[in-house]
Structure formats: C-alpha cells, structure tokens
C-alpha cells in the first residue's frame, strides 16, 4: 500500500476506472497537458490519450451539456469544473438536465455523470473560488452529493461515483488536497454512496459533520474527551441522500447532537440533518440539536476568512452548550 495525499488518491481512482472501463471520459478546463490546476488529472492524458482525456474550450455550460449528450450515448463522463464557485455557469446542465433525465425519459435514459470540483475555504483563494455550495446541490432530487474527508475515502467514493448510474457531484475540499497522507490500497475498491462513517465512537454526544469539518470535529472530540465527555463523530461522506440509518441510532444512543458544516448557516445540509433528527428521534433527545456553521454573509475576502470559518473551538463551545443543557 502506498501513502497518498487526497489529490493523489483522486488521480489514482480516475486512473483505475479509466483503465477498467473504456467508457469513462475525463474532460474540462486545463485537465489535459496541465493535468488540472490542482494536478488531479496529472498524467492521465499521456496514459489514455487525447480522445479520453481532453481540454475543452473555456465554457462550463458547454462542459455540462457535453456530459449530458455523452451520457445519453452510453459514456461515463467525469467532467471537472475547475472551481465549484463557477457551478452557476453549469447549473442548468446539472439541476435542470442531468438530475431529471431518468424521470423525463420514463427511465429510458440515465445520467451516469460524475462532476468533480474543488471547493472550500481556508486556502486564501481569490473571490468566488471557495464557497461551500453543496446545499444548493443537495436540494436537487436526482443528484447525489459526495464529499470525502480522507484520501482513502476519496478513492473509494470516487470509484463508486463513477460506477453509479445517477449523477454525482463529487466535491473535493481544497484544504484537504495535500494536508495529510494516508495508506491507500492499490487497484480498485469501493465505498458505498449514501453511507456515513463513524469516525469515533462515543456515548455522550453525536457530532454529525462532513468535509474539512470532520477534522475540526475530531480535534474537538479529543479535547472534550480530556474533560470527560465521550463524543461520537459521524462523517456523512454523502450529504445527499443522507444516511439516516447511521445518524438516528447514534442520536438515540447519545441523546445529544450537534451538526457541523463549513457552509453558511441558512438552509443547507446541517439544517436538513437537524430536521431529520427532530422528525425521527425527538423523544430520545436530552437537549436541542445545535449547529456550528459559518455566518450568513457572502464568503469573505481572504483577510476576513480565518475568523469567519468555523473551527474546532466553535465546535467545542457548541458541544458544551448541548452537553450541559
């Protein structure tokens, strides 16, 4: 087994699936010779040729529309949107077209497209590059939204996404791309979509989270442990559809829960998780379910970014409110 960063694990997943399935195509802006602006597609054009790994003209709506047509004809497109902040340019292809293809064609056509895209704060990108927009996607029936938090998960989840017969938006947190390495098996393995991962077991509080916030939550859980609290941390991995089979029993066990997301607080994934817990486990709750999230402002310019983003201290503080309720 090799030690890999998340970006290497992603490249490895793409290479593995391209080698296995000739219908897998990778395209987008700068994914060819350049290997992507983050090097996620490094070496793939050389290995699989320009017919299967290609640079498109600079047009996200073009990239999305191309994926729709290719999917209809039996391919498995894996387009890259250079930064997820530019998703608005391709929103119709995703939410208007791909998400509805199965429904509109009465099941005749499917849309096995995996849209990969970097997102997330904390790396001081220019304006409009870093937003956490998974909430917008999660509100779209027909689209699955996957967000890995580790190199191992990234590879297994990406392979599953590519093999999935529905559209998957696969979001890669920029801060996690190279922040740590992990053992990643060679060759193929899959991690089921829609299945959360219990990162750490505990009995006093459940933290439901995903993406970069998994690491802030784990750090918070360690600190809380020193103070005698036993905290369970659940990494959603797929934020839509939600893995209620993991979340609800955990909350029933601990009786207390908080939900942590990097995105702004209003609407969004965390609100949905809270609502599901209230719907299904209210009688088990010893305290209200609280959220840790970014404030409801526009994603700030780099100078204001660090304070704006939620961190483990915010998690600890909210956790304590719930633990001592």
């Amino acid at each position: 087994m090799a030690q890999m960063t998340m970006i290497q694990a992603i490249t490895d997943a793409l290479r593995t699936e391209m080698g296995k399935d000739p219908n897998v195509l990778v395209f987008g802006e700068d994914v060819g010779v350049n290997g992507g602006v983050f090097r996620a597609t490094e070496g793939l054009q050389k290995e699989f040729g320009e017919d299967r790994v290609f640079d498109t003209p600079l047009a996200e709506s073009g990239i999305g529309g191309l994926a729709v047509g290719l999917a209809l004809q039996g391919f498995r497109p894996v387009p890259e949107i250079q930064f997820f902040g530019f998703v608005f340019e391709v929103f119709d292809s995703i939410a208007g077209q791909l998400a509805r293809m199965r429904y509109r064609s009465g099941g005749r056509y499917t849309s096995p497209v995996t849209i990969r895209s970097p997102f997330g704060g904390g790396v001081h990108t220019p304006d409009m590059h870093a937003d956490s927009l998974e909430g917008l996607m999660a509100q779209t029936p027909g689209v699955k939204v996957v967000i890995p938090s580790t190199p191992y998960d990234a590879k297994g989840l990406l392979i599953s996404s590519i093999r999935d017969n529905d559209t998957v938006v696969f979001l890669e947190h920029m801060k996690l791309y190279r922040s740590f390495r992990q053992e990643v098996p060679e060759g193929e393995y899959t991690i089921p979509l829609g299945k959360a991962d219990v990162k750490r077991e505990g009995t006093d509080l459940t933290i439901v989270t995903y993406g970069a916030m998994v690491h802030e939550s784990l750090k918070a859980a360690e600190e809380l442990e020193k103070e005698g609290y036993s905290v369970e941390v659940i990494d959603l991995r797929t934020v839509s559809p939600l893995d209620l089979e993991t979340i609800i029993p955990s909350v029933e066990k601990t009786g207390r829960a908080i939900v942590v997301q990097e995105a702004q607080k209003q609407a969004g994934v965390a609100a949905n998780v809270v609502a599901e817990i209230n719907d299904r486990a209210i009688l088990s709750l010893e305290a209200p379910v609280l959220r840790v999230a970014a404030p409801d402002t526009v994603f700030p310019f780099p100078q204001a970014e660090t304070v704006w983003l939620p961190n483990y201290k915010d998690v600890i503080e909210t956790a304590k409110k719930v633990l001592t309720y």
Binding site: G32, P295, A304
Partner: protein, 355 residues
C-alpha cells in the same frame, strides 16, 4: 452560396514594426501623448513586477501578471474618455491604472482586503470580474443605460481569448448588435487561457471575425504596438458612441505565468517565450521614441525610478491600512440587516469567533 469557414480576410492593424520603425503613416498622436503612453507602460510594468515579487515574499496573495500586455491595456484605456466605463477581468491592472484606479487599490485587492473591490468615486471601473465572460453582458447593460439616458459614454468589456468561448461573450455581442449599443469588446488574445492554447478555443482563424456573425464591426490589431492599439481604440470608441458596437482583437502575449499559482513550463512550447520577447511592447515603443529624438537612456532610467517610487509608496499605504475585520463582512449583505445576521455579527464582535 456556401459560407466556407475562415474565408473572411482579417488584416491586422500595425503602426510600428517589431523594431519600433513606423510602417505606414504616422498616426494622429502628438509628442506629449507619445510620451504619456510610454510612461504608463513603464508604470504598469513596474507595478506588475513588484506585485510578482511581493507575492513570492508572501506579502500579497495570488496575482495575475500582465507583463507583455502593457501596450494592449495602456493603448486601449488611454483612448477612453473619463465618462467611459471599464468592465475588467482580473488581469487589467494596466488599463485600470490609466483609467484612474490607484495602485494601492490593486495592492489591497491582492492582499484580500475588503476595500480592494472598490475604486474611488468618479472612477468608472467596475469591480474585477472573476467569472470569465460575465463582464461582457454587464457592459451591454451599462451601455443600454447610457443610450437610454442619452449620455455619450461607452462601456468597454475587457476579456481574454479563452473568455470568448463563454456563452456570455456571444450573448453580449448579439445583444449589443441587436440594440445598437455603445459597447466595445476588447479582447486581449494573449495566446493562452491558463494551459489551453488559442487554437483549442475556437476554429475561427481570428477572434475579430466573430463580429461578422453578430452584425457588428470587428478589427484585429497588433496588441504589442501601443500606437496601433491606441488609434484603433479611438476609432472603435468613436463608432461605439454612434451606437455601432465594435469587437477589437488585440494580438499579444502573456509573458508571465497565468497567475502566481501557475507553472507555464508545463505547457508552453520551447522557444515560444523568446519569440514573443522579441516583440516586447515596451522595447518597441522605446526604440521609436529614441529614433524620434524625444527619449534617451537617461530619461528612461529616471522614469523607471519614478515609477518604482510610486509603487513603493502605494504598497506602503496598502500595507499600513488596517486589515479588514470579519465583522465588516456583515455590513455588505443587505441594506437592512436581518436580525439573525445582526445576532451573528454581535457574537463575533463580542468574542472574536463565530458561534
């Protein structure tokens, strides 16, 4: 009759050759203007080189250098009237300086300061556009307003060769043509969109010829020839003011990386940079001015020193500006702050962290 591809002949406008010799007639530019054009190019380059250095030292954030494109930017912006509007992309420092944006403003922007997005009142420059192509339609809307209000301002969208692949670019040309709006689309074809060469953006032989499909005027100009750019832009603006939109393609070259996060050695052809360095816009204009007897090495040195001092001062102002605080971000979401937002802002003010 079949309209075959690329049959349109597009002749590139040139005033100076690569060595700075006049080809054709001398444009209608007096000596003061000649010197001003050159001095602006010196300022743009000096700013650009310093910004690159400051980024490498970690003192400013990601920066998109414009080295090599000074003639295109300065020549075009120098032709504007004060009331005209610039709708810039992220690589337009040269053009924006000429049109009145301060250097410290650009430094603040690259430092991630909240004030970096605004230019001073009275400077008709829209905030830097990150979404490729979007500014083209904004310029069209702005031009519509100016036509409606019967003002004589032209709205100029600055965009790159890659940007011409975006739907927004085509929609903008179409709208401008349909409504006969005072708009100029100024494309800097610097040969690359990050790692993707111009030849992979479009099958058209030129970008200028795309104008024909939208029933508007197109022209290609040597973008490293400041005199050609200036005179072409002057004429383009004259036409636009009469409600005849123009697409200008300035053929130039990005001598630097796409941004400070990019490594051009991954995709650039061997020898390509050297070829374009020989066509450098400053070198060419300098030779012309010396030949004309209004410039020499001594003046050159003084000019670069002056520009250097100006940049230093601007950076000092930017660096000593108190950094923006997260609490400020809350003030620019709505006119009236919703109570929930005010509550979140308070929690930051009181405790310093988000709750």
């Amino acid at each position: 009759m079949w309209l075959e591809p690329n049959e349109t002949i597009v002749n590139k406008v040139q005033v100076l050759d690569e060595t700075g010799k006049l080809i054709g007639s001398h444009p209608d530019v007096n000596d003061d203007e000649l010197l001003a054009l050159y001095k602006w190019m010196v300022q743009a380059r000096t700013f650009d080189q310093r910004a690159l250095k400051l980024q490498r030292q970690g003192r400013i954030g990601t920066y998109a250098p414009m080295i090599g494109q000074e003639a295109a930017q300065v020549g075009s912006a120098f032709a504007l009237k004060k009331q005209d509007w610039i709708y810039p992309s992220y690589r337009e420092v040269g053009a924006c300086l000429v049109h009145g944006v301060s250097m410290e403003n650009f430094f603040l922007y690259t430092m991630g300061h909240i004030k970096g997005g605004t230019s001073a009142q009275g400077t008709n420059v829209f905030p830097v556009q990150i979404i490729i192509g979007a500014q083209c339609l904004h310029a069209v809307g702005s031009a519509w307003a100016s036509k409606y209000k019967d003002e004589s301002s032209v709205s100029v969208a600055y965009i790159g060769d890659g940007g011409t692949s975006q739907g927004d670019f085509h929609e903008a040309l179409n709208f401008a043509g349909v409504y006969k709006l005072p708009t100029v689309f100024f494309v800097q074809n610097n040969q690359w969109a990050i790692s993707v060469p111009r030849s992979k953006q479009t099958a058209s032989a030129t970008i200028a010829q795309k104008a024909a499909a939208y029933g508007i005027t197109g022209i290609q100009v040597d973008g490293n020839d400041v005199l050609a750019v200036y005179s072409t832009m002057k004429e383009a603006l004259r036409r636009a003011r009469e409600g005849k939109p123009v697409l200008v393609e300035a053929v130039t070259y990005r001598q630097g990386p796409h941004t400070t996060a990019d490594d051009p050695t991954k995709y650039r052809q061997n020898g390509e940079l050297e070829q374009w360095l020989a066509k450098d816009p400053l070198k060419r204009m300098k030779a012309f001015l010396i030949e004309r007897g209004i410039w020499n090495e001594e003046l050159e040195q003084v000019e670069f020193e002056t520009a250097n001092d100006k940049v230093t001062k601007a950076f000092e102002i930017a660096a000593s500006t108190p950094s923006s605080k997260t609490v400020e971000v809350f003030d620019f979401v709505y006119e009236q702050k919703p109570s929930q937002l005010a509550e979140q802002q308070n929690s930051i003010q009181v405790e310093g962290v988000v709750k």
